[in-house]
């Protein structure tokens, strides 16, 4: 069997959450300097902290699954 080992689903979950978390975090940073005022909880800047939560959750899936894939586990 010369076929490469399949990446696990957790890699794809991690990649998706990391990319989207990064975008949401960037929006949150943007709102720190240019506060948005249209939404009801704008003062909490949910984009910033939720983006960071997503980003770290994504990395928690992404890094171990990539390491496992590289080591052939």
């Amino acid at each position: 069997m010369s076929e490469s080992k399949m990446l696990s689903i957790w890699f794809f979950v991690g990649l998706m959450l990391t990319v989207l978390g990064l975008i949401i975090t960037c929006m949150g940073i943007y709102f720190v300097f240019n506060p948005e005022t249209t939404t009801a909880m704008a003062h909490l800047n949910p984009s910033l902290w939720w983006g960071v939560v997503m980003l770290f959750s994504g990395l928690l899936f992404l890094i171990p699954s990539w390491q496992n894939h590289r080591s052939g586990k």
């Binding site: 794809f12 989207l20 949150g28 949910p46 939720w50």
Partner: protein, 555 residues
Amino acid sequence: MEQMILQISWVDWLIIAIYFLFVLGIGLYLKKYTKTGEDFFIAGRKNSAWVAGLAFLSANMGALELLGMTGNTVKYGMFTAHFYWVGAIPAMLFLAIYMMPFYYSSRIHSIPGYLKLRFDEKTRVLNAIAFAVMTLLMSGINLYAMALVLRTFLGWDWNVSMWVSALTVAAYVTLGGLLSAIFTEIVQFFLIWFGLFLVTILGIIDIGGWSEIFNRLPDSMGALWSTSTDAANNGMQVTWPGIILGLGFVLSFGYWTTDFLVVQRAFSSKDLRSARMTPIIASFFKMALPFIVIFAGLVAWVLTKDPNAHFSLLQENGVVNYDSALPMLIARYYPEGLIGLGVTALLAGFMAGQAGNISAFNTVWTYDIYKSVINKGATDRHYVWMGRAATVVGILLSLVTAYWAKSAPSIMDYTQAIFSWVNAPLFATMLLGMFVVWITPNGAFWGFLAGMISSFSMFLAVKFNWISAGVLTLSKEASDMSANFWRAWWAWLICLVVTVVVSLVTKPKPREELIGLVKGLTTIELEKNLPFYKKPEVMALLAILLFVLLNVYFW
């Protein structure tokens, strides 16, 4: 009429585009790992319990359900949580502990496949046809409903949103089969949690805390069981026997233990323990889902009653659109970027539901209709080709159904009822088949047929006012929901009685043909050398404990 409740910016478009590219990329990547029939239809039977468990739940967690259940909570309050707790958990655990060993050990590809082994070809084909029609009908109606939601809240063109999502699903399921569907379902699971749970968190903070929400709710909205003794005391107009017999027993067990759409995910597990753990893992997340949908609905209810909140649901021709609750909350709390995430979560929910329907359809069509009736002796390669062709044709038929629904929106009324036409009687057939040795093939066939016909007839009789719904529900007040619960119960009972009576006068299959399929004739090697905390029975006990605690807490 384009209302555009949610304004989409370029960053929201970017997030939506990334999601579409991502799922197509997954399909392309998985194609090279999808070669045999076992790969395409049953994902190679290689999945862990966690993968199969999350896919099991995600296949059921469509966006329509999220929107509808949030809307139902605004309408009926905590009673809606019954769909997630008593209406799911006992059935999921029963499947894991008692039924999965028979399903998994018989190495079948589908639920109709079990009927063939336990009974005969005609019962299998009857169930396969009923399931295929039900799946395509649901798939098309979901597609129509998705386009309707996207048009109402985002102003998107009806045809474009329907065709783009349908073709995307067709592409990745055709490429990677069940494996693609499972991968995207799991991505969808995380997108829904990250995309929609924030609505509840912000809503609770906005109102002033968890207890403040319950302080503002009247008993009829905040109670789970305490108002169920009299149908007049709760908005759902249903009493506890209706909830327990109709929803908790027949509809729930009928759906969770026999609907191939969800059970197929457990069949993809790598071993029997993983297959048994699949519904158990899913049950914990099912119990957690009300923390998105139910609490978002309660937040929406509280806000609509608070004049200072300046929050209202959408109204169409003076009628409140309860399903608008979740999008209206997104519009209230989410700035640009997060709106893209919320919309992507809903889109992912729609598309994963679509993929679930189509991957179940292509398997039942290929194995239980095409291979069983039309072309028995073809090669594995040919059946994989047929599975791919069935995916494309299934999507096209879904589109036809969606256009049909568009021209006759009243067919939406049938969606709630469809499950009780097929799944409620099927549950009686399965229960008897799996646990009673002397049930005969003819008993199963005629019982199942009688159950389906009676359920459909009861639906028509109420719909066209030939009888009042109260005749079915045995009460004066009867909502559509209550009639649905009770119709399922009667259909189940009719199937059970007919199956037993016909079995008493017809010839059973030889006992030796039933080994491995019926309890009492079968010794299945369950996991004996596992540490106790890894045993499915122990995890199921934990799930039951949590289930009881939730019901008592919200009593």
